[in-house]
């Protein structure tokens, strides 16, 4: 029944790990060929893989885990998906109903544990209601603001026979978040667009979640108005990096021109972003002179952090369509003169060239490694996942994204260990595409067991590890904020990644000379199978620009050539 429900929901791939309490479902999976099952090596990997699958396809990711430890291992992934609004349906086994509450073997209060880290969850105690619950689970995961849901299924319910209800026969759910925005507010926004002298679009993951149509409409609106646009980490690719309006990412490690535009603008149009603390910096000094509009499908995002003038609750795609309609009908007006001097100011900021760095000599700068990766893979059918830390920010800064759903990263929760399993999920969905996980060595080790999954399922994922033998972002903060006391932020006893790759049955490449980098990347791309590429990079490189927390957008720290000399003896002692 479970498998039938998944088939009727159009599920093609399930990421999972068997165990006692899900054996009946695994038995059903064994006896069919429509749904492929990817055996991961750890349940956290299953959830992240499903996230990668979901983020790169727009379809919900499906996970199957057993009771107790199977379910608790899935918690990090669920929380990650909740914060980044990724639609997931997680099915977990549970001990038989008559043993629930008995401290039975591998029993955990899964519904209780996952209540705060799912959008909704169910304990399916009645076999007759099981199929209805699974269909409802898909509905909830994908409607409104997407998110992870969990259905906990006791083993006796899995064995029981009941009447199957197909999706078409399920009673319409009362859960129907509105998608259309209020026309009065939309008209108010259009009026503001017509008058704005210093506007900026600030877009987020909501545009991606709204589907490719929303990205298309966003491009149309941005290009037609000629307004500049910046995006959060989660929203990269909704507007192409090569587009005329593109300023680059904003936020703590965002580009100078993007953050300055946010600070000095007179109209800020937030589309599907949520004024996260890594974006706003000092809230009381956040964009002090602007009128702010906020388009979000979740009413609780509005006025949560920043008070806005024009709130619009609705789906980004629908609202953008209406904005374009109204704006065109009113004569496509913008303040051309105002925009011209605004762009002149932005061009001045761009001249600072905040991402510049100097690649000198043999030691590879991480920025250089990513610049070369971008150069050598540009135009390819390419998907990028990342782990969490400095490499993640550099990837966001130095790689260009032309399309939505091409960039998978753990934004809200910042989960180290996300990237490798996510790359597995992305490659499952796009078997012929190039999937690169830009990683740091410390994050990568957190879920390195999933290399086994990649090898078993012949998924040619490329693990591009920027290895600085440090927890780079932690080290950077310790340097800047904690008096250069590097408490436990370096990696000792690292494995030999080439041998590790070989042990898994993958290919390993090591490169430590900038002159060899291009050849090494070419070798990685040419190999038809999973690769672990160990790029030994400058150990003390800091990620700039940076808005120190507690400061507003216009107080950014820019990178300094002098950083290296300023490290001092404390840092040098660690080498």
């Amino acid at each position: 029944m479970v498998v039938q429900a998944l088939k009727d929901q159009g599920v093609e791939v399930v990421f999972g790990y068997p165990g006692g309490a899900v054996l009946p479902i695994y038995d059903e999976i064994f006896q069919q060929n429509d749904i492929r099952h990817v055996l991961v090596r750890h349940e956290q990997g299953a959830v992240h893989a499903a996230e990668g699958y979901a983020r790169s396809t727009g379809k919900p990711g499906v996970v199957l885990v057993t009771s107790g430890p199977g379910a608790t291992n899935a918690v990090t992934g669920l929380t990650d998906a909740l914060l980044d609004s990724i639609p997931l349906v997680v099915l977990s086994g549970q001990v038989p109903t008559f043993l629930i509450g008995n401290d039975a073997f591998q029993e955990a209060d899964t519904v209780g544990i996952t209540r705060p880290c799912t959008k909704h969850n169910w304990l399916a105690k009645d076999p007759g209601a099981l199929s209805t619950i699974i269909h409802e689970a898909f509905h909830v995961a994908t409607s409104g603001r997407p998110g992870p849901v969990l259905v906990d299924i006791p083993k006796d319910v899995q064995f029981a026979s009941g009447t199957y209800t197909p999706p078409s026969k399920v009673k319409v759910s009362h859960y129907q978040p509105p998608v259309k925005g209020d026309m009065e507010a939309i008209t108010e926004l259009v009026e503001a667009i017509e008058k704005a002298k210093r506007p900026v679009f600030y877009t987020g993951g909501g545009v991606i979640n709204s589907g490719p149509g929303a990205s298309q409409l966003l491009r149309e609106l941005v290009d037609a108005t000629g307004f500049p646009i910046t995006s959060t980490l989660m929203g990269l690719g909704a507007y192409p990096a090569s587009g005329d309006g593109w300023l680059g990412m904003l936020g703590m490690h965002g580009l100078y021109e993007a953050n300055m535009a946010m600070h000095d603008c007179d109209l800020m149009i937030n589309i599907g972003a949520r004024f996260d603390d890594r974006i706003t910096g000092l809230v009381s000094a956040f964009s002090p002179h602007s009128k702010k509009a906020h388009i979000d499908i979740d009413p609780s995002s509005i006025n949560k952090v920043i008070r806005v003038d024009i709130p619009i609750v609705g789906d980004v795609g629908h609202v953008l369509e209406d904005i374009l309609k109204v704006w065109k009908a009113r004569g496509r007006k913008t303040d051309k003169a105002g925009l011209q001097s605004w762009w002149a100011k932005i061009e001045d900021w761009k001249k600072i060239d905040c991402l510049k760095f100097k690649q000198e000599g043999k030691i590879i700068k991480p920025q250089y490694a990513l610049q070369r990766l971008e150069e050598l893979t540009k135009g390819m059918d390419r998907y990028i996942t990342t782990e969490v830390g400095q490499h993640q920010m550099w990837a966001a800064q130095y790689l260009g994204f032309e399309d939505p759903n091409r960039w998978m990263t753990s934004g809200g929760l910042g989960t180290m260990g996300y990237g490798l399993p996510a790359s597995v999920g992305v490659q499952m969905a796009h078997p012929d595409a190039l999937v690169v996980n830009v990683a740091g060595e410390a994050s990568w080790l957190m879920n390195m067991q999933e290399m086994g999954t990649a090898v078993q399922f012949r998924l040619p994922v490329k693990q591009f590890i920027l290895n600085n033998e440090r927890l780079g972002m932690v080290r950077q903060w310790q340097e800047l904020l904690h008096g250069e006391r590097y408490s436990h932020s370096w990696s000792e006893a690292l494995p030999d990644f080439v041998k590790l790759a070989e042990a898994f049955g993958a290919k390993g490449i090591k490169v430590d000379d900038a002159a060899d980098l291009d050849d090494a990347i070419a070798e990685m791309l040419a190999y038809d199978g999973p690769v672990i590429m160990d790029v030994l990079v400058e150990k003390h490189e800091n990620c700039f620009p940076m808005i120190p927390s507690g400061e507003p957008h216009n107080k950014m720290l820019l990178g300094e050539a002098s950083t290296k000399d300023a490290i001092g003896s404390a840092g040098a002692a660690l080498v």
Partner: protein, 186 residues
């Protein structure tokens, strides 16, 4: 490089210490929430308040529509206007929640609470307790030679006042149901 020169012990550099400059006037609101009567729904509501650090002054819940399996949760909470707005929006996100009503702002409403008071004593104190109970229209629902249990329905303020009066007269225990509230009119 120690570009930031932040004093030791200062937490200025933590992004988590940045607070929006919203109004800090605290208001008391009574919120009615209509929910599916399904297992765990109360835990979702309470978990939301606990997880996001909202206050609960009183909370009542019971099924109000048996055939539709709907329950009504009445929550009295305090917070700044911005927090109250967040509470309502967050409640609205919970999947089994059908309706959220802020009775404090949606026109006039009535609030009632039921309370039981156990008062022990003899002689004059016992007589005085009974006399005050009469004035407050409290009923005696249990009696021994040394004690009464009074039952009273009223606004939370009336119940507070009665409890204050009973305290010197031998108040032993109070049980309160929490506030039930409905909007006035149709």
């Amino acid at each position: 490089m120690s570009a930031l020169k932040i004093k030791k012990g200062s937490n200025k550099h933590s992004a988590y210490n940045l607070r929006p400059d919203f109004s800090d006037v605290t208001e008391r609101h009574t919120i009615a929430v209509l929910v599916d009567n399904e297992p765990g729904v109360l835990a979702r509501v309470i978990g939301l308040f606990a997880g996001r650090g909202y206050n609960i002054e009183s909370l009542t819940v019971a099924e109000v529509d048996h055939s539709g399996r709907m329950s009504r949760i009445t929550i009295v909470t305090t917070g700044t206007p911005q927090v109250i707005e967040q509470i309502k929006a967050q409640l609205g996100r919970i999947v089994p929640v059908h309706e959220v009503h802020d009775l404090t702002v949606e026109g006039a409403s009535v609030e009632r609470e039921l309370a039981l008071f156990k008062v022990a004593g003899t002689g004059d104190k016992r007589v005085e307790a009974l006399r005050l109970a009469d004035i407050f229209r409290a009923n005696v629902v249990d009696s021994t030679l040394e004690s009464f249990v009074f039952e009273m329905t009223g606004t939370p303020e009336k119940i507070d006042a009665f409890a204050e009066l009973m305290r010197p007269l031998g108040l032993v225990d109070v049980a309160r149901t929490g506030v039930a509230a409905l909007s006035r009119g149709t």
